[in-house]
Amino acid sequence: MNKTRKLLFRVGAVLLLVLIAGLMFIVGRGHTVYLDNKTLEYEGQTYSALYKIEILKNGEKVAKLNKRERGMATNIGQTCKLTLVITKEKKGAEETQEIELKLPYSMDGIIINLPGYLSGLPEDAYLTEFVSTAETETAPEEEINTDEFGFSSDMDAPPEG
C-alpha cells in the first residue's frame, strides 16, 4: 500500500467515526415525555380533559390517563410515535389515533397537553418544558453498590499513596 493511499484510508476512517458519532449525537438524544390529560385554557378558549386516554408506545402500554392525570414515556430521538386509545365521554366509544410528536432537541423533559394537542393547537400551546425539582435538591448522595464483586464497605482498602 503506498503512503498516500494509507493516509487517505486513515483520514477516511477517522471521518467515518466522526460522522457516526455526529449521527448518534442527533439520533440518540433521549427525552422524557410527560403526557397530561388536563383541561387547557388557550386564548380564552377552554379545551377540556377527556374521559380516558390509553397510551401505547411500540405496542406496549405506557400509561392510562383518567381526567387530570399525567403519564410518562421515554423516547430516543426527536420524533415520538404514540398510539392513543381515546374514550371521550363516559361509556363512549373507543377511538384509536396515531400521533407523531416533534420534540425540541434542547429539552430533557417535555410536557405535552393532550387535549390541546388533539384539538390541533400550535406547538407553544400544548408543549412546555418540564423543570425537574430534583435540580435544586442538595440531599447527600446515597451509596449504591455498583461493584459486581460486591465488597462490603469495610473491605474497601484505604486509598493508596
Binding site: 467515526l17 440518540g28 430533557d108 455498583t146 460486591g150
Partner: protein
C-alpha cells in the same frame, strides 16, 4: 510401557494446568455447598461472560508482544468512564449512547495508551510493576479531571451527573437509560436463561479480529518482539513503536470493554469502577490457564467461567462452612490475589530455568569447541 507414558502424560498435563484444575476442584466443592440452583448459576455466569469477556480479551495483545499482564488496562477503563460521563451529560440514550461512548473513548484511550507505552519503553524488563504504578498515577490524574475540572473547566451541565456544588461528578452516575440495551437487543431466552446474543456477537467479532491480527505483519512483528527484542530489532522491526501500538490497542479495547461492562451494570461508580477491574480481569485470565507470556482466547472463556463461578458461590459456601458470610468474601479476594501471585512466581521460575538451561547449553558447546 503404554501405561507409564500415559502416567507421565497425565503428570505433565496436571503440571501445566495446575491453576485451572485447582479452580475446577474449588468449584466442584463449593457449588453443592452454596445451594444455588443450576439455572440461577447458569444465568449469572452467562451475564458475567457477556459483561467481562471483552475486557479480558483486551489483555491478550500485550501478552503477545512480551509486555506481560497489562495492569495499565485500567487506563482504558478510565477512558470508557469519561466517555460515558459525557454521553450521559448530553443525555444520549440507548444503543446510540453506547456507540457514541465507544467512539468518544477512542481518542482518550489512544492518548493514555501512548503515554503508558512510552513509559513502559523506558522501563523494559519491569513492565508489569511499572504499568501497575501507572494505573495508580493515572487514577490521581483521573480524580483531578473528574472531581475538580469537570463542570469547572470542562463543560458538564446536567444535574444528574454534576455535584450540587457546581463542579465535579457525582459518586454514581446512573446509566438507567442505556442499561443492558446491548444485552436486551436480540436477547434469546432458553429455559429461563437469558442469552445476550448481540453482546456475544460483538465478542465473537473481537475474537475474529484477534485471530486475524495475529497473522498480519504487525501481529507477526509483535510476536517477534515478544520472543526477543534484540533479534527483532536486528530484523529491522521498530521495537519501541510496535510495543507502543500493542499497548494502545489494548487500551482502546479495554475502553470498549468498560462501556460494555457498565451498560450491563447500569451505573458508574465514578471513583471506584475502574480501580479493581484490572486485577479481576487479570485473575480471571490466569485462572483460565494463561501465563504471563502465553494466553489464548480459550483461556479467556475458561477463565471467566471458572473464576466467576467461584466468585458467585464462594460467599454462600463460606457461610455454610464457617457460619460467617464474610469468610467467603475474603476467601474469593484471597484467591484472586493468590492466583496472580502463583502465576507470577511460576512465570519467573520458568524464565530462570530456561536461562540457566541456555547457559548450560552454551557452556557445553564451548567445551565441545575447545575439545576440537
Amino acid at each position: 510401557m503404554k501405561n507409564k507414558s500415559f502416567g507421565t502424560k497425565l503428570l505433565t498435563f496436571v503440571r501445566d494446568n495446575t491453576v485451572p484444575i485447582m479452580f475446577v476442584l474449588i468449584c466442584v466443592f463449593c457449588i453443592p455447598l452454596s445451594g444455588f440452583s443450576f439455572s440461577y448459576l447458569l444465568n449469572e455466569i452467562i451475564t458475567r461472560m457477556g459483561r467481562n469477556i471483552f475486557l479480558i480479551l483486551a489483555l491478550l495483545i500485550p501478552i503477545m508482544s512480551g509486555m506481560g499482564l497489562n495492569f495499565g488496562m485500567t487506563l482504558g477503563a478510565m477512558a470508557g468512564e469519561i466517555a460515558l460521563i459525557f454521553v450521559s451529560d448530553w443525555q444520549i440514550w440507548g444503543i446510540p449512547g453506547v456507540v457514541l461512548a465507544m467512539i468518544l473513548s477512542i481518542p482518550i484511550s489512544v492518548l493514555l495508551g501512548a503515554f503508558c507505552g512510552k513509559i513502559l519503553n523506558m522501563a523494559k524488563g519491569r513492565e508489569m510493576i511499572t504499568s501497575y504504578i501507572i494505573s495508580f498515577f493515572m487514577n490521581g490524574i483521573y480524580q483531578l479531571i473528574v472531581l475538580y475540572m469537570m463542570g469547572a473547566i470542562i463543560p458538564i451541565k446536567h444535574f444528574s451527573v454534576k455535584l450540587p456544588r457546581g463542579y465535579g461528578i457525582r459518586n454514581t452516575v446512573s446509566l438507567l437509560n442505556m442499561r443492558q440495551c446491548l444485552d436486551n437487543l436480540l436477547a434469546v431466552r432458553v429455559g429461563g436463561v437469558k442469552i445476550p446474543v448481540l453482546t456475544f456477537l460483538i465478542i465473537g467479532v473481537l475474537c475474529l479480529f484477534i485471530v486475524w491480527f495475529r497473522k498480519t505483519k504487525l501481529g507477526q512483528d509483535m510476536r517477534a518482539v515478544g520472543q526477543d527484542m534484540n533479534v527483532a530489532r536486528d530484523a529491522g522491526i521498530n521495537v519501541e513503536r510496535t510495543r507502543i501500538i500493542s499497548i494502545i490497542i489494548s487500551t482502546v479495547l479495554a475502553g470498549f470493554g468498560m462501556v460494555i461492562y457498565l451498560q450491563n451494570m447500569g451505573n458508574i461508580a465514578t471513583y471506584s469502577s475502574h480501580s479493581q477491574i484490572g486485577m479481576f480481569c487479570i485473575a480471571a485470565l490466569l485462572v483460565g490457564g494463561a501465563s504471563v507470556d502465553k494466553a489464548s482466547i480459550g483461556n479467556v472463556f475458561l477463565g471467566v467461567i471458572l473464576f466467576h463461578t467461584m466468585f458467585i458461590v464462594a460467599p454462600k459456601a463460606g457461610a455454610q462452612i464457617t457460619g460467617d458470610s464474610m469468610i467467603g468474601e475474603y476467601f474469593r479476594v484471597f484467591v484472586s490475589y493468590g492466583v496472580i501471585t502463583l502465576s507470577l512466581i511460576m512465570y519467573e521460575t520458568k524464565k530462570r530455568r530456561q536461562k540457566s538451561q541456555m547457559g548450560l547449553q552454551l557452556q557445553q558447546e564451548q567445551m565441545e569447541e575447545a575439545a576440537k
